[in-house]
Symmetry: C2
Subunit: 370 residues, 2 copies
């Protein structure tokens, strides 16, 4: 008796798939997979935190459904998204004798989803894979849309592939074992959808923030709305040649800050995005594009969620403005020298600006760190 509260269909033709959202989908994954993909074997990729908190539920269901599987467990954390771990996962899938028709399951947050999805993309030139996102960030963002990859010393996510999953199972109860800081980091991406083009959703979040954090029905509703939003964008622009770049709101600044803090616990991805979104609003205000009070509302909302919103909120000392600028220039959203930023005309009115002068960014950053 599978309880599915929401289904979001990602209509990508041959690559179409469903996102199922419900309270106990990890327990039910075995039954769902056995029905949807008869006769496959499974390579489960996870990290040690998720293995401790959630893996037994998954394997119990696979066992009950009589499905064969191997588990590859990696250390938790962004540092795992590297070449050596990629090789380890690919070799692990091959060692398990998984064939091209078998399935990789990514059980974990965005790190595991990105890494396992990329490993699936390149093992035997492309294996199918299923996302079982266990962090809020992964449920509302990284598990949907097929971007997979690892980090390079030159920057985040610079190596990867577009590889769509065959199915996404978002189990809301999995979030119960996620710590509050991680939950808040994922919440930054939830807010992002409102800020891009859905001011009503932002208003709704302002009302339901506490319920989302405490696990009421608004949590599932929020996850579903975010997935639907992301699915819409991905359908329109699968390979990020256009509008999909809007999803990078806050990310150019955010990535530079993450790089500067060494992709460490000092600043989580979503925390960088939170600060980045505030900076994007303030920068847009500075350029005379957006009303100042919108930046204020964004900042206040993210603060209520317990997120950092200013450069000063980052523990430790930041690198020089030159270092930050270099990171921004190396970010993959740079096109032929000019800087591309997601700017905004106010809450729910983000747009892509491909012609931002580096000097303006530098001056703005200098002031904000001041």
């Amino acid at each position: 008796m599978t309880r599915i509260d929401h289904i979001v269909h990602v209509a990508l033709g041959e690559r179409a798939y469903d996102i199922l959202i419900g309270p106990r989908l990890i327990d039910e994954a075995g039954a769902i997979l056995a029905e949807r993909f008869p006769g496959r074997r499974y390579g489960i990729v996870t990290d040690d935190n998720v293995a401790a908190a959630q893996l037994p539920r998954l394997t119990a269901g696979l066992d009950a459904a009589g499905l064969g599987y191997e588990v590859i467990t990696l250390p938790a954390g962004e540092g795992t998204k590297n070449y050596a771990r990629l090789e380890q996962v690919v070799e692990g899938l091959l060692a398990a004798r998984l064939e091209r028709g078998d399935l990789v399951i990514a059980l974990g947050g965005g790190v595991i989803g990105d890494l396992a999805g990329f490993a699936a993309a390149i093992t035997r030139r492309g294996m199918d894979f299923v996302q079982i996102p266990t962090s809020l960030l992964a449920q509302v963002d990284s598990s949907v849309g097929g971007k997979t990859g690892i980090n390079s010393p030159h920057g985040k996510n610079l190596v990867g592939a577009f590889h769509q999953p065959k199915l996404v199972l978002a189990d809301l109860s999995a979030l119960d074992s996620l710590d509050r800081r991680q939950f808040a980091a994922g919440y930054a991406e939830v807010v992002k959808y409102g800020l891009i083009d859905d001011p009503d959703f932002f208003d709704w979040l302002d009302v339901h923030l506490d319920e989302i954090f405490s696990g009421g029905p608004a949590r599932g509703e929020a996850v579903a709305r975010c997935c639907a939003h992301k699915a819409r964008v991905v359908i329109e622009d699968e390979k990020e040649n256009g509008v999909r770049a809007l999803l990078n709101l806050g990310h150019t600044f955010g990535h530079a800050l993450e790089k500067d803090t060494g992709y460490s616990d000092r600043l989580l991805h979503g925390e960088g995005v939170a600060i980045g979104m505030v900076l994007a609003h303030l920068f847009s205000t500075r350029l005379g594009l957006a009303p100042g009070q919108d930046a204020g509302r964004v900042e206040a909302h993210l603060k209520r969620a317990g997120l950092p919103t200013t450069l000063a909120d980052i523990p430790g000392t930041l690198g020089s403005t030159d270092t930050l600028m270099a990171a921004i220039a190396q970010d993959k959203k740079v096109q032929r020298g000019a800087l591309t930023f997601i700017l905004t005309r106010g809450i729910g009115q983000a747009f892509i600006e491909g012609n931002v002068a580096p000097e303006a960014v530098r001056a703005f950053l200098e002031e904000k760190r001041g």
Copy 2:
């Protein structure tokens, strides 16, 4: 004044591209690229042999056309198709600050084409690339069709991506610096096209073999016919879900032999394919599928080309039959346990057989090595 003798169009919709075949295309590449891809920068990937013999012609043309480029030179040989070299190429492309719209050029044989193409596929989640194949094997086979990848300790080409080039430039004069053994190895793949489904081409090769080896007009004609054949197959079945597997005629045995000889100079890829094609014919004869005299004609033709045709032709001692069988089972053409082989009803009548009994293969191998 570019002289192009043959153009083969690979009609893959959004991913369509041309294969240009001519006597001096490396010298003319700068002009051709400047015209077809204005405003790009180039990352040239090559190996040390090809860098010595052919790179100056390419860079002179790029310089003359005013194009910016960086060169990444790797050691020659199959051993280069590994994870560490992949990382080196990707990081080199990033260090050169090549952007998603820039172009990777693979200048070399199949090793460089496969590796550089794969690096292009995963750098920034997909950069464009151009193949400039310099070995006969690369011109007639590996540069066309978008299969890219590296080897795993578990087997050849087990890690990779489908990533079509934007253009292929086959310069016939490049083959003048290729040694005879390598030329012959590439020639095995030429013969393969006849054996699959074109008995007239096999007859034509029997007449023109010497002219192809000595560099007469039949050489360009042979390259063009092979490219046209491969293009046709790739158009029909880009991702190898069906007929494309026919191109693996001789390759299941061949890969097992290559693995057993450590991907070394003991046995070149094409040499393994030559032996593998003879074995595939003999095995088909053994199974009562093909007339024995066809296997004899194939063997005689490959011998005339200076290629090995029997297990005894491989220098050194082969591994056990168990080892060879394990390699065959790990080959990626295995589907759900049963062995898939390309068998034949005679010259030009190959077909895919998905249900070959491992015991029959084992008994056949035992006898052939005996």
